[in-house]
Symmetry: C2
Subunit: 198 residues, 2 copies
């Protein structure tokens, strides 16, 4: 199909404008109401009908994955900085904190993340981004194990789950920063090589 | 009011029969569908109208608290056995596992438990039972600290939250028993006195 094909210049620009407006509205609604925000409200604020929303994002997970994608620039930048650290232990520590912050973006986000981890369904739009984050966590955990910082029986996936937990706990709003710091210390003391009970 | 007062023998028996039928139906529905189970379905199965359900249990939390109450006999029995253990460290370990099992009763139970912990609202029917469980956790944690088994900076409440976490993670279905054992070890290594980094 030529560039002058069925989708001419004007309609294509409209399509992209609608998509951008939907992503922006969705981000605002997710921030305010959590991941269960009204999709009707999102379409309305973006100035499109529900049909247009569903053509762009056939499921809530698809919309959520696309919004997370737009937010991932910050995480990618942090990962780049973390990758340059010399100390494997510090790399792992900072990465777990970056994950926790990323997962805390919207209230209720940890649940669909856990569902994606459980199902391992390639059709779930959240599966691929999660797999990528889990792979990075495993890589940093293995490097920290080789450097003698992390107990051999700990898996990177366990630490990924711990980061999701901290985000979930933070999201419930039950806990001040001091309590969250104690929970982070609980995990960190828990994975240290020097504390290996075996 | 005399025993022959406004509520005669027959109506009172009806009221108690309805309550028992509602609790039994609710337990079945919560077990099958999680804490978000249809209340209409519960009333229907108990053979009463929605009005009767709401007179007995004005909110979902009230129904949930009452069902948990009927299930707490097992926890109370375990607590009695645990209280007789000589080793403060083992007492804490077994109590945390009993909590985790109790919180795993219904899918979705950890969320309203966290809400109760956050709000500390005496009108929330889940607040009182949770406070009791938190108090027991704090008591066992302090005893284990006095015996030199638990790091001084760890609070019983942190370990209560860790038990809720394990139940939540189990409830998402993402993890086999081996993974759960690793997460339990992560917490246990994390709170041990001998691993105190300070």
């Amino acid at each position: 199909m030529s560039v002058e094909g069925r989708q001419g210049r004007k309609p294509r620009a409209d399509v992209q404008r609608n998509r951008a407006a939907l992503l922006e509205a969705a981000q605002r609604h997710f921030l305010r109401d959590g991941v269960g925000a009204s999709l009707e409200g999102v379409a309305k604020e973006a100035g499109v009908g529900p049909g247009t929303l569903y053509r762009h994002f056939p499921t809530r997970e698809a919309l959520l994955a696309a919004v997370l994608q737009t937010r991932s620039a910050e995480l990618v930048a942090r990962r780049a900085g973390i990758a340059r650290l010399d100390d494997a232990s510090e790399r792992l520590r900072q990465w777990l904190r970056a994950l926790e912050d990323y997962f805390s973006a919207f209230s209720g986000l940890p649940e669909p993340l856990m569902t994606a981890a459980r199902e391992q369904n390639p059709d779930n739009p959240l599966t691929l981004p999660c797999d990528d984050l889990i792979a990075t966590t495993e890589e940093y955990a293995r490097a920290a194990q080789r450097a003698g910082h992390v107990r051999p029986s700990v898996k990177g996936y366990d630490l990924y789950l711990a980061a999701v937990w901290l985000a979930w706990t933070k999201g419930t709003g039950a806990h001040d920063e001091e309590a969250l710091d104690r929970l982070r210390a609980l995990i960190e003391v828990g994975y240290r090589e020097q504390n290996d009970p075996e």
